[in-house]
C-alpha cells in the first residue's frame, strides 16, 4: 500500500446555524487518508461522520480548517470528478432503466455513446448486474438497486469512492453478501474508499482504518489501523483479532457517550 495521502483534513470545524441555535457538527477534525485505503467512519447519529464525508465531497463547506482532495480543494476535486458518491438510498431515477441510471453521470460528463455503452457493461458486470440493463428500478430488489447505485458511482472511474451508509437499509444477509462483494471490488479496482456506517462488524470487516467518532460536538475519538489481512473471508469475523478490534471500537464509542 502506497503511503501518499489523497485526502487530508486539518483542524476542520463546521457549525450549522439552525432555528434551535448553532449545531457544532465537526470540531477540530484532522485526518489523512492514504491512496488505496478502505477507511470507515463509525459513530452514533449526530457524530458528524456523514458531514465529514460531505465535506470531502464538497457538498458542505467547513467553517474553519483545511481540507484537500488529490491536492485540490473539495470544490475543484468535485469539478474534476475525483470521486464517486454512494448515498444511503440507491436514489435511482425511476424513469430510467438500470442501464440508463448508470449512464447518467457518463451523459453529464460528455462521454461518447460507444464509451458509455462499454463502461455501462463493464461496471454492471463488476457489481454482478449483467443482464439487468433494460429493467426499471422498481423491478429490482433493494440490494440490487444499491448495487446499481454503486455501479453508477464507479462508471466514470474516479479514484475515490465515498459511501454514506450504503447498506444501512438492507437486511443482514444481503448486507453480508454486499460487504463481501465490496471487498472484492475494492481489491480489483484499488480505489480509495471512504465508508460511513453504524455497524461495528461492518466497519471492522471492511476497513484498513477505522475512525471512531462521537457527537456534540462531532469529533474523532480514535483511529484504529486494522491488522487484518487484505483477503478476508466472512468467517474472519469469528477470529480473535477481529473480536479484539471490535472491542476497541466499542470502547471508543462508549467513551464518546459520556455526555448523555
Amino acid at each position: 500500500m502506497n503511503e501518499t495521502p489523497v485526502i487530508t483534513a486539518k483542524n476542520l470545524d463546521l457549525t450549522f446555524e439552525t432555528n434551535d441555535g448553532p449545531v457544532h457538527a465537526l470540531k477540530d477534525v484532522s485526518l489523512n487518508i492514504n491512496k488505496g485505503e478502505f477507511i470507515s467512519f463509525i459513530g452514533p447519529s449526530g457524530c458528524g461522520k456523514t458531514t465529514f464525508l460531505r465535506c470531502i465531497a464538497g457538498l458542505e463547506t467547513p467553517t474553519a480548517g483545511e481540507i484537500s482532495v488529490n491536492g485540490m480543494s473539495p470544490d475543484e476535486a468535485r469539478r474534476s470528478r475525483a470521486y464517486g458518491y454512494v448515498f444511503q438510498a440507491a436514489g435511482l431515477y425511476p424513469w430510467r432503466t438500470i442501464g440508463g441510471n448508470i449512464r447518467l453521470p457518463l451523459e453529464i460528463m460528455g462521454f461518447s455513446k460507444a464509451e458509455q455503452h462499454e463502461r455501462v457493461n463493464r461496471v454492471m458486470d463488476l457489481v454482478d448486474l449483467g443482464g439487468f440493463e433494460k429493467r426499471f428500478p422498481w423491478q429490482l430488489s433493494g440490494g440490487m438497486q444499491q448495487r446499481a447505485s454503486i455501479a453508477r458511482a464507479l462508471a466514470f472511474d474516479a479514484d475515490i469512492l465515498l459511501m454514506d451508509e450504503p447498506f444501512g437499509a438492507l437486511d443482514e444477509i444481503v448486507r453480508d453478501h454486499l460487504n463481501e462483494q465490496l471487498l472484492k471490488l475494492w481489491a480489483r479496482t484499488e480505489k480509495t474508499i471512504g465508508f460511513v456506517t453504524h455497524s461495528i462488524p461492518e466497519a471492522v470487516y471492511l476497513s484498513t482504518k477505522i475512525v471512531v467518532m462521537s457527537p456534540r460536538p462531532g469529533r474523532i475519538t480514535d483511529v484504529i489501523n486494522s491488522p487484518l489481512p487484505k483477503d478476508r473471508p466472512l468467517d474472519i469475523r469469528d477470529s480473535p483479532e477481529f473480536i479484539k478490534i471490535a472491542h476497541r471500537v466499542r470502547d471508543g464509542l462508549r467513551a464518546g457517550h459520556v455526555d448523555d
Binding site: R78, P105, P137
Partner: protein, 309 residues
Amino acid sequence: MNIKGIIPALVVVVIIFVIWTAAVIPMNAHLTADQAQRDGFIMTPEAPRDRQEFLGLTLAIKNPEIITMTYTLVRPRLPSPHQVAIEMYETIFTKAPTSRRSLVYHAWVTLSATLLGFVIGTTLGILLAVGIVYNRTMDKSVMPWAITSQTIPILALAPMIIVILGAIGIQGLLPKSIISAYLSFFPVVVGMVKGLRSPDGMQLDLLRTYSANANQGFWKLRLPASMPYLFASLKIGISAALVGAIVGELPTGARAGFGARMLVGDQYGQPMVTWAALFGAAITAALLVAILSFIERRTLARMGMGATA
C-alpha cells in the same frame, strides 16, 4: 378499466337519471295543466291562478291524467331525458356537420377555441413554472398574481376581454382562446412548480457530485420528475379551457359554439337546445380528459413510472 370499475359509476348515472325522470312531473305539472285545459281537459282546480297555490307534485296527484303529458311538452320547464336524447340524436346524426343546426358544428367551434387556449395556457403555465423554480424574484412575485388572477370571476372578466380585443380588431377564435388560456394556465403553473421541485435533496446532491450544470439538472432530473404532476394538471386545465371557451361565447351573443346554443335555447324558449348543448359540452370534456388519461398512461408506462392518477 374493468367491468367492476365501471359498475359504481354506472350506478351513479342510473340514480341521476331516476331523479331527473321523477323531477320532470312536478317541474312541468303547471305548464302541462295549462296546456291540458286548453286541449279540453277539466283540471282541478279550474282557475290557473288557483293552481299556482299548489306544489307541482300535489297538482299531478290531483290530476293524474297529466302525468304522462309532462314528458311530452313542446316547451317544458325541465325536458325529460328522452326529449334531450332525441334532440341530441337529431342535431348530431341527422344534420350535416357543416350546418348551423348541427351540434357537431357547434362542438367544433367551441373545441377549436378550447384546444388553442389549452395550448397557449399550458405553454404559458410551464414557462411561468420554470421561471418560478429557477428565479427567486419570479418565485416571490408571480405566484401571488397567478392566485389573484383566479379569484376574479371569469364571467365579469370575459366580456371585457372580448370587447377590448374586439376594439383592436381581434375577433373570432382568439378572444375565446385567451379566456380558455386564462383559466387553464393556473393548474399547470401550480402542478409544474410542485413537480419541478419534487426531486429530493439526495437526487439534487447526486447531480452536484457530477458537477452537472443547471441545464442538465432541468432536462435529466427536474423535467422528467415533474411528468406525473404535469398530467394531473393538464386534465384539470383542459376542462377549465372548455369552460373558458363556453363562457367566452356567452356575453357577446356569439352565433356558434356550445355557449351560443345554450343562450339561444334560453332566449327562444327551447330548453331541449340548451340541454343538448350542456350534455354536448360534458361529453366533450369527458372525451378530452379520457384522451389525456390515455396519453398519461402510455407516457408514464414507457417512462417506467406507471400511472399515478
